[in-house]
Structure formats: C-alpha cells, structure tokens
Amino acid sequence: MAGTKQNGTGKLAANGQNGYKVIGTRPVRPDGVDKVTGRAVYAADVQMTGLLHGFVLRSPHAHANIRSIDTSKAEALPGVRAVVTAADLPVAEDKIEDLGEGAINLKYLSDNILAHEKALYHGHAVAAVAAVNPHIAQEAAELIEVDYEPLPPVMTVDDALADDAPILLDTLRTDSMGEIGTEKSNLASFFRHQRGDLDAGFADAHLVVDRTYRTETVHQGYIEPHAATALYSADGQIIIWTSTQGSFAVRGQVCEILQIPVSRLKVVPTEIGGGFGGKINVYVEPVAVLLSRKAGHEPVKVVMSRADVLAATGPTSGSNVRVKIGVDANGKISAALAELYYEAGAYPGSPVGAAANVSLAPYAIDNLQVDGYDIVVNRPRSAAYRAPGGTNVAFAVESVVDELAEKLGMDPAEFRVLNGAKENDRRPDGLQYARIGQIETVEAIRDSEHYQSSLEGKYRGRGIASGYWNNWGGQSSATAVLNPDGTVNLNEASTDIGGTRASIAMQLAEAMDIEYEQVKARVVDTDTVSYNDVTGGSRTTFATGLAAYNLGQQLVKEMKDRLADQWDVGAGDVSYEDGVFSAGGESLPFVEAAGLVQREEPLMASSTVHPQDFGPGFSTQCVDVEVDPETGKITILRYTIAQDVGKAIHPSYVEGQMQGGVAQGIGWAINEEYIYDDEGHLLNASLLDYRMPTALDLPMIETILVEVPHPAHPYGVRGVGEVNIVPPAGAIANAVYNATGVRMDKLPISPANLLEAMWAREAEPAELVPGDD
C-alpha cells in the first residue's frame, strides 16, 4: 500500500521525516505554561470594573405556550439592574445564516435565545436578570412570574410523526426535496440520495440483512460551561468576551439577532475548555448584550451552570435508523438502503444530511438509496457534535456489515477490504473521491498486533468498525509580522481547541525554514484579521495551516526581493537554503536578514484562503471487551484505532484527537443518554447522572497513524479531529455480540439495556441463538 504508517505514542523520530524539519516533530504548545499554571483566561475568568452578573430563567415545561411574563417583582428587588425577555429582541426574520457546520434560520435562533410565544423544551430560556451579584440575580429570576399553558410533549421520532401529534412550530412546513408542503408538520425536511437499481440489487442478493436501530440524545460534554461577558458602551460599540469555536460566527449570529452592523461588535475569544461542535451556536452572548444595554452600559457576565449546559445547549440527535444491505455469494455488496430519522430538537437542523453521507461512505456500492428525515421534538435544539450525525448511522451500518460478514463466514476486515471505497468511488450523495485511505485503515487494523492476537476467555469479544468524515475547508485569514530579531508573530483567528496554535505555527516555520520556537502564534479578535470560519469540520490545521504556509512563502519572497536590492543582484538570483540567503558571493542567515531587510521599511504579510479541495478522513477501529454476565457491565480491555491522517503535523496532537474521539465514542456507546420523564423533564442534567466515561473507564487507546497525504495541501494535511468518533459504537456493539451472542439494536449498551437483552436471548428457543464464541 502507498501510505506510510506510524505506530502511535512516541515512536516517531525526533526529527520529522520526508525531508521536513519541523513537521512531524512534537514541540511544546505556546499556551501550555498558562494552562498548567492556571493563568490562562477562560470565559468565566473575565473580570472588569463594575461587572454585573446575569442569570437566565428557564422553562420548567417541555412544551408550553407562554401567555404572559410579569417581571415587576424582579425589577423591584434591590441590586437588580436589568431584566430582559424576548420582548427586548428585535423581530427576527426567516433568514438563513450559514455557520459552516450548518445553516440556521435566524428566527429559530432568536427564539432559542429567549422564548417568544412558546417554550419548546425543559430548560428553554425565557427571561434574564442582571444584578450586582449572582445570588441576587438568581433570587430575582425566581420572582419573575411566567404564565404557562402546558402542552403535551413530543419527545421522539415516533411521537412527532404520529397522525395526531401536537405541532411544535405553527409555521413549519415539510421541505421535501425542495417542495414545500401545505400542512403543519413536525417533519422539517425529507431528502433522498439514489443511484443504480435498488430492487435489482436486492433481487440479485445472495443474503440480505435488514435491521432497525435506536440511539439516544447525547451531549458533547465539554468541561467548560458556556460563559460570556458583554459591554454595550454608551457610544453603541459592543465587545463580547466569550468561549467559542468561532469568534466571527458569534459576531455574525449576534449582529443578526440584535440587528446591529458588524462594525459595532468586536468579539474577543478567550481560551476554550472544549467545544466539539457545541460552541458554535450562541446562547448567552446576545442575552449579555441586551442586559448590558438595559443596565446602563455596564458590563454583564452570564455563566451557565452544568445543569444549564446539559438542558439547553449541545446535544446531538437521537435517531431511528433502518439499514438493509444485500451481498452476492462472494460477499460483494449488491444493494444498500438506509433510512435515517433524526431528532433535531426544538428547531429544524439535525445533522441528518451529514449522516446520510457518512452512512455508506466506506463502501463501494452501485445500487443504493439513502433517505433522510429531519424531525422536531421537545428537546434542546441540536448542535454540531464531532462528525455530526455520523456515530448514530455508523452504529447501524457497521452492525449490519458485521452480521453479513459473520453469515458469509468472512473475516470482518476482509469484508471491508473487499467492499472498501477507493479513489473514484462515490459517496452516497454522488461526490467522487480523490485519493482516500479507507482500505489502508482496514489493512492497518487487520495487520495490527492487536487484531492478530488471540483473545481468550469467556464473555470476552472483539469487534471492528469503520467510519468516514467529510472534513471541511472553510475560510481563514491570518497575518504574519517579521520581527527584526528573526521571530515571526503569527496572528490568526482560529480558536485553538486541540493544539492548532502549534500545528499552524509549525507549518509557517516549515515554509520559512526557521525553528518552531521563532514563531509566536496567537488567536486574535474579530477586529484584527479578516473573516475566519469556525474551528470545526476538522478544517483548522488544514485551512489556517494553508494560510500560514502562504504567509511563509510571501515573507521569504519579500526578503529575497529586498536582499536582491541590497546586494544589487537580480530578483531571481537570491537563493534561500537551510536558513541562509545567498547570491553573488553574499550570504546572510535568516535572523540577520530579518533585521537588514527592515531597516528602511517594516515587513508583514497577510493571507486569506478558501480551499475547496479538502480531503475526507477514514478510520477503522478494533476493540476487545469483557462483559460481566451477571451485571451487564462492559469493560473495555483494549482499543486500537487506525486513521488516515494525511500528514501528521504534530503527531501528539493527532494522537490526542484520535484518542479523544474514541473516548467520547465509548461514552456514547456504553452509558451516555438523555433521560426524560413522561412529561418531558430532563432528569439527568448533571455529570453525576449523565455518565461520560472517567479515566477509570478507559484503557490506553492505541493509535496507528496511516499517512496517505492529501494531494491538495502543500504538506498533505487532512482533517483529523472528527472521524475518530464515528466507528466506536459499531465496534463496541460488534465486540459485545462476539462476547455474548447478543446483537444490540439500541444505544447506549448500558448495563441495564445489555442485561435485558441477554435475558431476552436466554428466553429464545435454543436453535435461534447464535454461537457463543
């Protein structure tokens, strides 16, 4: 195979290979010291003179009309400086804002900030208070009298699509492949991807497996709660300090919601304690601005509690997924059908579109159909979550693939090699692949020591699964200032979540043939560089890295031109090698040249990029589990992930992304779920009862970096942040089957759910029970 492989965790040489000097090394991150010492400023750390504290009142009902809101008692409480409701928001239009990871209708966004006529989920914001301290703000919020008319809650796909289902949004009409319906509905949209002849493909099949799966709502689980501070100055200028994946996305949304020009708002990004897609939408930012204005232009900070975060931000969709796949006698897929029903939460916009592309992406299939349904329910409005929508559908597809391989008597890795997608094959929506590394990731797992090792013991099992993510290019802007001492200030606007200040600075250093330590990277505010898309879609090291590469090229070229003038030689005569400029017998190291070329005029460069040709990522993973047959509890014994990473700029951060995605995927697979009562109240809005994995729940996650360089990037970079979360649920479900003989058709595979499934299997007649080992 063409790709190169690196076994993870410290096995790379100190110097990068392939002729690189900086790329492939593992330098210290620029934000490391401040984070280790606690000096780093996160959103809730922002302090300033005269700071007021906000508190948001939230709906106790899942679904209710708001008849009236009386804020008079709250306003009368000493210490209260402002109270706001939806009446303080401008009337929002039905206008679509593209946030990169998903387009949203601003009317819905505005309604989600502060409920207008209806509360659509337990925890929906309805009013907010600013006071001199957080305790008074909370006490005042409790004095606000909201007259609700509770309505029956609509909690699931099946509730929402029932004939007599209560309607969430009066104006919503189904968009069916561009055709707008006439009836009120909770089905926001329907689409279909189709190619080949599905009926013929199934008719030709030697074997067909057709199953339906259920997954529950889960949250991104970033550790830092949302927080924002806003100052609405008396002259109309506004500043927001916030934790966000995209300062420009905050600017865009807040300006649209509040109907103010972008020139009046500066967004200053703080350090961020995780986002995973959940810190793209705004929540408290517009509320803080409204409170600051109403409180007499004093700064107002609004910090969410953990319960607020779980109840009113994030989550990603629960779903019902049907997958039907047929294979011929040789194991080649002859036809595949997927039906995806995704719960969008209170407003349209589940990730079902992205999920449809993920669904069958790892496989070369001539006859396929994928149907997607976006459905509103009385849960928080769904937000992007790492490879949005992918984990749900991959759980279903990879379970069916495993069952097919078993029934064919084929090794599941060989099945995936036989059917694997490669260059010129097409994704479900028809997009044709350039060079991709799916098959290489399967081969890397198949040939790994892990997969080749034997797994002994009762109730132990092994499973594998593959996954795809599209990645993204997006728009990036950056500037670079050459300092006379030979260092470079790199100003960029991509929120650094996973070490991107380092990975972007490394590309600039490589492009300029200087040391990584000579580059000072920082993330700047929205007034300092031009537009920059969110850190999302696994795009940052790829696209902002491309901008940094361009900056390096520009600076070196300009230095050559100026030296040519100095040395009185032709512009093309100056060469630059190994950090030394030379021409016509003259030579000068970079550091000295940096001073010389700026004696007459300073030097800086700017770059804006919008690359369209981003490479997708694939991952194949292998897991060993042990199931306690008396309790249904799963222990993850061993986990190995192989991922096509293009080119690992900073291998430690690539490994960190892979391990992080798998850690989240394990949580999603085993324990995480939103639990509601019959009235739609969220019962587990705490990290005690919303069970993300702890360090004790995870093994060391082994990484295999498969490097199939992406041809459209100067260093071969592909996005690496997201695809890793796609396979875990499927891999674990397959391992659980291998361990117990039980095929789980729902997530999470919690002890209670697995125990019940094992009991149900024991109750089946013996001849229907598949083999134990």
């Binding site: 305790h135 006490e139 008396e630 309790t631 249904g632 509890k633 085993i670 324990n671 639990i675 019962l683 587990n684 990290l687 005690l688 009862d689 069970r691 994995p693 702890t694 360090a695 004790l696 729940d697 919690s750 002890p751 209670a752 125990l755 019940e756 009991w759």
Partner: protein, 303 residues
Amino acid sequence: MQALEFVAPTTVDEAISALAAGGGRARPLSGGTDLIAQLQEGRLALDTVVDLKRIPDLMAISISGDGLTLGASASCHSINANQAIRDAYPALIDSTHLIGGTQIQGRASLGGNLCNSSPAADSIPNLIAHSVTCNIAGPNGSRSVAVEDFCTGPGRNVLESGEFLVSLDFPAPPPNFGAAYLRFIPRNEMDIAVVGAGASVVLSDDKSTIQSARVALGAVAPTPLYVEEAGAALAGQPVSEESLARAAELARAAARPISDMRGTIPQRKHLSAVLTQRALRIAIDRARGTKTVDELGRLNGHG
C-alpha cells in the same frame, strides 16, 4: 444561595443550644459534602448551620478490645488512615474508600452519610452488617438506636427536632468474623449505587459453618434495607455456594426497588441477589483470612 449564620460550638451542650435557637431553620454541619450541595442547588433553605467539627466527641476515634467508637463527624480519610481500624474492621474501608475522591474523603463523614439518609448511601448497609449502634444527643437527653432502625424514608430518619448524631458504636469483631460492602455502578467511579450490598458472617472455629450472618441492601427500598431473613437462613449452614444462593434469593425477594434514571426494577432485583452473593463470598474469604481485594477493587471502582 443566600447568606446564612455559621455557628461553631465546641461542646455537645452548646450545639444543642445552637440548634434549639435556630429552630426549624438550623441544621448540623459535618463534612458538608451533601448539605452544602443541597443549599447551593436550592434543595434546602436554612438560616443557620451548626458546625459540629470543633466538638471533640464528634471527631474522636476510639478503638479497644471492647470495640470501636467513631465520632459522627470523623472524616473518611481519618478512618482510612487509621491502621487499627483497618486491621479490626477491614470491610469498613470498602465504604470509606469509595465515598468521593481523596479530597472529598478529607471532609465526608460516616455520621453525615447516615444522617443524609439516602437509600443509596454507600456506608449504611455496611454499618448494618457491622451491627452498629447510633448515639444521639438532643434537648431531651441522649439515646441510642440500632443503625438498621435509624433511617425512616428517603432523606428522613429518627432524629427529632434539635437532635443530632454524636457517635457510632461498633461491637468488637467476634472471632472468625468477616464483612464486605459492594456496590454496582455503571461506570468505575463517580456514580451513585444502582444497588449496594453489605454482608457479614461469623464462621465456626473450623471455618466450615456459618454461625451467624447479616445482610443489608442499598438503593432497593425507601431506606437502606436490613434483610434479616437472609442472615437467619445462613445461620448454621455450611459455607457453600448453595447456602449463599439461598440467601441471595431472599435478598432478591426482600428488595422492593423503583425504576428511575439510575436503574430499573428488574435490574435492581437481580443485582440484589448478585451483589449479596458476591459480598457474602468476600466476607467469608475475609473471615478465613484469604484476600479478595482484586474483585473488590474491580466492583467498587478502585481497579
């Protein structure tokens, strides 16, 4: 959360007066790992907290041939660090080591865990297995109750207005005594018990027969549940899986759980039997002097 009065008496009598002065809006404070969280979350509103940790009797740990007396506010860490307790009552550490992390253990107390009276409390089935007696002080004098009679409902107990728990008396372990506490949680840390089981046995001198036994369950009833019939069924029986299985079945029958976000009725009934049997095995191993720390560690989340 609003400001409240903080009183820190240094004698039991002062504490009685302080609680009386506060009326129904005063509560005793030990480690505060439950109380402060309840105040912050608005589940409880008070005018006064009476910190008991400066009263010597509440913090004392006294161990002798007659048994152990544990001040109600003594921290789990001070218990874990006490080698005499670890030697005489090793099973007690099963609870004190899994309540919270190290920092929480520096504050959390067994008395507080008992007075919070959660049906899922990780110490109470263990205290029942150890035949603990609760010593109570109050405006009408002192009294004692058996720990299995202490809790009366979720968050409720026998303490009358103005009363508080002073100490816990553990009888000296008889020869050939062993005990254990196990809980089931979906993760390996940071969870509330889906079911907990405490068990103790006294074996015959040749360690082949169970002379007496006690079994208690957590999280399967409105209070921690003393399953007297399971212990009675074991008395006089040979040490065997069959004996333990019978006791486990009685535990299953005694459990009357609810379904909630932490577990279902069938799961909890089933786990009542599984954990009873496993806890009894460990208690027997301890009585026989064989170690089973691996399984304990794995099940209780300290693997």
